[in-house]
Symmetry: C2
Subunit: 580 residues, 2 copies
């Protein structure tokens, strides 16, 4: 490609709307343009990168035996109602109607469609296993699109769905995808961290996320540098370093009074107290860690109570896991009043029997705790959770924090942000049962297929790669995904020998099958070099009058900045050697 | 690929819903499944064909210097309002809102998006010409999806947009795309007919359609076998074989009365007469060709009259062309009464001055015509169109019919149905002016870019190729788009030599880079052969015990049915030779 005929609208300044390096660099290097919030056009260079990523993903999926298909973006609403997800993830679904009034959604994922397909066309164990995948456009009504390609409304995804006859086979399919993902991300030049994950609205028993650690990420990961434990905060657990039940030192108050084991529950007036923090202040002085925080959530339309220690945060993903529900939300004030007879600020679970009570493990065996009295303006003290509260289920509910103990070893956890780039789920039979994807086994018995699903955010990978491969001057593409591998920069095209060698090198590299761009623009060398660094071609070959006087050209590796003056006759070999 | 591991759900019977060969065969050969009306999933074999078509399209677009991009499917409504097309093609737009209530449409085409992109990033004549293209999913709220991939709601399209500094350059871009299309369809093995076309809602001055003649088509083409004239009926003209003005023989009545040139206009009662046909019956006996049909259309919100001869049909595309409007529809009864004071059935243009009157060329100089009196139950006779009607513009309005004279030679036209597979438009400045896509020319003057747009229905091509390449047993893929080029069919895998040679041939062909499928299923040979013919692999290699006894295998060409027994040692070379 000749630069003069390409379309690479580079920008000198960082666009104001871009907060993170990948977003800034994609705009500045002329890879991407915004059409609306969370909706983008890939310009020619960005598109080339996207296609290269797709190609690597496709090769590894094919190698793993998956079969590529193409499912539609427009899905009949009924198919989503059948699995319950029209309700469960309603908020992120884009909805539309055709001219007859029939209702559709734009697919954010394709379990409904692929399971119906397989239900219709696979009938026997002899047709199993099957793994169907596609690289296709997904739509999601994101509340806050941001960070360029990290959180968008329309994006390219690779989604795969495996169908197996039993659990052991499904585990093999899962492992095969896991291994393919490891290869894919390696080939893309990405350092990834694999974490245990929450299955969320997908359902299913088991899942891992592939993460790229980055301050630009939207996920939070707890990990242990010692034993390698790593999990998404939606799933992560920890060992409390302050002892399992009563902390010696809480974050927001000293805990310096030794109390006897059993005290009577006593109601006391707390006019105006609405929060955990209010109670930590005089005249009450109750440390947050001595309080039981009572939260009311509506899980699949039914209210339930969730108790956590006052200094902890509830994790909504764990509410889903704990209850086995599919959809949860904080209860409205009116629903809370109906359930407990009080307003938020005075809620408690003492004596509550008509609403199920889930309590976080960190509260187990706690005594002399303070909690709301379910009477506005009153709290209870001396609460012994075992004796005074009818806990239906002890579960993990709180969000892990940096510095807490690793659940697997003696070390401590750290919490970092990360970009999720891949996710593998073992789904079990949730969708095959809902949709009726059954097969006849060897004995002629009808059974639901065991499913897995496997996603990679293909367009997001462009951003993730840039987040891991850039410096202050621009992008540093790994050669496997670079839009062009070599940029030839003639310093002055008016110089005949420069021009001739530039054209010759361009032809030679093309003849060797190397993707090369010739910067034939009539621009100052400084601008050419800046643009080449900004776009980030792995190798730049600079051809100038001065060097040629000595029979030399300059070959420069973008990643390290290493520059070599080489004999012009050896420039081609040198360039090829650097691309390996 | 081993057939046992592929996903090729062939069907024995023609599905009831499929009316045309391509639809039937795509379902039967396991290429396609319907998700909803006009919405399909491509199964692995169908997807492979789609990718091969995309690959050929991409190669030829790249060769023509076009640059590939990827624009989004979700477009802000405002961008469509700015060009007037939110109204003009509102009916086929799928609309949606995000959670904040912002309105979007799903793009059925991308002039709005690409022009805004270019307006922002191309400022100088030095950046021109540019041709940006994409292969991307389009959405259209079709009133009657049918014929499999011919008329659908969601489809893959290649759309390209050229931007030039002047008309001459724009013509070169147009020609370059025209030539690329010729190469693309040749490589796809398609016989096409290029016709002059109506620009429709695209606007613009000039366009050609690439058509595949087929009874399954939805377009109608008038063509002359003698001189090569060919045009879409939306655009086609003809020479009336019955003379330009008064026909000697009309289709629905004899015309055997010689009439004097000038007669007075006379009103006569026609109670109950509502149609042209009513007036042809006794007691009136007015041949349709002697009647002026008066039609009221609303063009861009304003009423206008369109006059055609009673035996002709109005062509709505020509209404658009004649008026230079963008949107037309038949007027409602209420609008007609307001404009002319009468109901349909008694409408006429005699004396009408407040509404523009467009008359078809076939009416020019007609005398002694009959038309409505704009008074319910009355008509006028003795109408001399030149004298009695204030025609604002003489234009081409009628739909051409088979058997009419070719407008370019002495021969006659025939009308056939065809599938539109490509369309090239010279758009001019319609979009660049509306969106503000201007550039500075060499003198520093700001000018709107001259645009062209160029579409290929990529997924529709799968159907078009099958329509031209099938027989009673199934598809006959041209090798360039076949899902696999060779199918190896071992007759009996229990026979050791058969199995060994099948495996060896499979490995050999793969090593040569030939896409091959090995039918390793435990099925009867008859089923294997039927399936191979149905799917339509260009070459089948049959390996059986009988042949091997003589050291031979059978190589069969699907297209011709030609079968050769060849020495097993030469089977590979023979197969490769057939694929050229």
């Amino acid at each position: 490609m000749r630069w003069s005929q390409a379309f690479i609208p580079t920008l000198r300044e960082n666009p104001k709307e871009a907060e993170i390096p990948s977003h800034q660099l994609m705009l500045r290097a002329g890879l991407l343009r915004q059409v609306a919030g969370g909706i983008y056009t890939f310009l020619p260079l960005g598109f080339r990168v996207l296609k290269k990523i797709e190609h690597i993903v496709r090769e590894e999926m094919d190698r793993a035996g998956a079969l590529e298909v193409l499912m539609p973006a427009v899905h009949p609403k009924e198919m989503w109602e059948r699995t319950g997800r029209y309700t469960a993830i309603n908020e992120i679904l884009f909805k539309l109607k055709d001219r007859t009034g029939r209702e559709f959604v734009l697919g954010p994922t394709h379990e409904e469609i692929v399971t119906a397909l397989v239900a219709n066309d696979i009938k026997s164990y002899r047709q199993l296993p099957k793994n169907l995948y596609q690289i296709q456009t997904k739509f999601r009504d994101e509340p806050r699109p941001r960070f360029g390609l990290i959180r968008v409304k329309e994006f390219t995804m690779k989604d795969a769905y495996s169908f197996d006859m039993d659990d052991a086979a499904a585990d093999r399919s899962y492992q095969s995808m896991y291994d393919a993902y490891v290869r894919i991300f390696q080939r893309l030049g990405l350092k990834t961290c694999v974490v245990e994950a929450h299955s969320g609205a997908m359902g299913g028993s088991h899942s891992h996320e592939f993460m790229v650690m980055s301050p630009a990420g939207e996920d939070r990961i707890a990990s242990c540098g010692e034993c390698g434990y790593a999990a998404n905060l939606e799933k992560a657990t920890s060992r409390l370093t302050d002892g399992k039940d009563v902390p010696v030192q809480a974050e927001d108050g000293d805990l310096n009074v030794e109390v006897p084991d059993v005290l009577p529950v006593e109601k006391f007036p707390t006019p105006g107290v609405k929060t955990i923090a209010d109670l930590t202040k005089p005249p009450y002085d109750v440390p947050a860690a001595r309080q039981i925080k009572t939260l009311v959530y509506v899980v699949d339309s039914k209210p339930a109570l969730f108790l956590i220690r006052g200094d902890h945060d509830l994790n909504e993903a764990k509410v889903i896991t704990a209850t086995g529900g599919t959809l949860c939300r904080a209860a409205e004030a009116e629903e809370i009043r109906k359930a407990l007879g009080a307003s938020p600020g005075s809620l408690g679970a003492v004596g509550v029997k008509h609403v199920p009570v889930y309590a976080d493990e960190a509260l187990r065996d706690t005594t002399d705790m303070v909690t709301g009295a379910n009477e506005d303006g009153f709290h209870l003290r001396g609460v012994d959770i075992t004796k005074d509260i009818a806990v239906a289920k002890w579960v993990d509910l709180r969000t892990v924090r940096s510095g807490e103990g690793c659940p697997k070893c003696d070390s401590v956890l750290r919490v970092d942000t990360a970009i999720e780039i891949g996710h593998v789920f073992k789904l079990g039979t949730k969708y095959s049962v809902a949709v009726g994807a059954n097969f006849l086994d060897e004995k002629g018995e009808s059974k639901p297929m065991i499913m897995g699903c496997y996603g990679i955010g293909v367009s997001r990978l462009v951003a993730a790669i840039i987040e891991q491969h850039h410096d202050k001057d621009g992008i540093q593409w790994p050669p496997g995904v670079a839009p062009y591998k070599v940029c030839i920069s003639p310093v002055n095209l008016a110089h005949a020998e420069t021009k001739a060698l530039a054209e010759q090198s361009y032809a030679d590299l093309q003849a060797r099958g190397v993707e090369v761009i010739l910067d034939d623009r009539e621009e100052r060398p400084g601008i050419k070099f800046k643009d080449a660094d900004l776009v980030g071609f792995p190798v730049r070959v600079t051809i100038g009058e001065k060097g040629l006087a000595k029979g030399q050209v300059e070959v420069r590796l973008r990643k390290t900045g290493e520059t070599r003056l080489v004999d012009k006759a050896k420039a081609l070999d040198e360039t090829l050697a650097l691309l390996v």
